[in-house]
Symmetry: C2
Subunit: 188 residues, 2 copies
């Protein structure tokens, strides 16, 4: 393994699919490589929408050649109007990982929040703030799907992907510390 | 359009994905072209399972070159243990249709049952019996996923795909008549 792990994080969606690539070092430092959103027009038939999502993800895979793909886990309990499209998009993200010979992992929204902010019930703004801080970005990543994709990638690396260790509560400590720093700064 | 419509029906699943190809004439007569099941080992990681499902569907597309792909619609209300895998497999079936430049359609289980047997609440055995009868098979198609895939393909053709007309209740009449025939034979 190289000294850094390049992770492609994917926030699956049919209308907007967030994609974020980060390099994470063994010391857990992280650098932004790419962030974006793959869109599909809701007026197109589903088969063409899914093909657009796949083409967009393939472009990121070809250009940035990640070591691993991390996808946010979809639950059947979510909003029923969109859950099937989200599940189908997540299936395509995982399929492409398999076809590129890359390992894939899924993480729940609360795992992502806990890994990035130290709080499993953090709100979106807290997650975005931490992502921007960790990656030393001048502004919060926009739109939210793009920020979520970066958070998923960071979560994957910090939960053991970069260090190669299994997930432990202790693995959250640097994120918790960083979040406390961010909170302190925000209070100034 | 050729005088027959070749339909690939797909009963999406992660462990067993039914695939059935039929040629359906303008007179609604139908001929079996191919039937099978694409399997993936549940011990493999999800990204490799999905890649196996995709490879199996691609093989059918390459070999039999259907005009259209019909996929059974998945609902979030179904069994939560399997619904996500089923939704992901359905997304891959639809994606491949899009990537092969083919139109795709989804049909609900009750639409399939109604189209094939005349009864929206028909049981699996009734559907299998009708599929075997319509396609002049000596035995019921096995396993059930394979029979379901053929039923989805027949449903798609009969609901207007072959005749090019919109779905109407009148479109069910030949299936209802065939089912009545099958029932009468079964009573002998």
């Amino acid at each position: 393994m190289a000294s850094t792990l390049r992770v492609l994080g994917i926030d699956p969606g049919l209308t907007r699919c967030g994609v974020g690539v980060v390099d994470v070092g063994r010391d857990r430092s992280a650098t932004l490589v790419h962030v974006g959103v793959v869109r599909s027009d809701h007026e197109l038939p589903i088969e063409r929408r899914l093909a657009m999502i796949a083409a967009g993800i393939r472009e990121v895979l070809d250009t940035h050649r990640p070591d691993v793909v991390a996808v946010e886990r979809v639950f059947a309990q979510q909003n029923r109007n969109t859950v099937m499209g989200t599940a189908q998009a997540s299936g395509i993200a995982l399929l492409l990982a398999g076809e590129y010979g890359l390992p894939a992992a899924t993480h729940t929204p609360s795992e992502v929040k806990a890994a990035v902010t130290g709080y499993g019930s953090a709100d979106k703004r807290q997650v975005q703030t931490m992502v921007a801080r960790v990656l030393r970005l001048d502004a919060l990543p926009q739109p939210a799907d793009a920020a979520d994709a970066l958070a998923i990638a960071l979560c994957h690396a910090w939960r053991g992907g970069a260090s190669g260790t299994a997930t432990t509560t202790a693995a959250l400590t640097p994120a918790q510390r960083a979040w406390a720093d961010a909170e302190r700064l925000a209070r100034r």
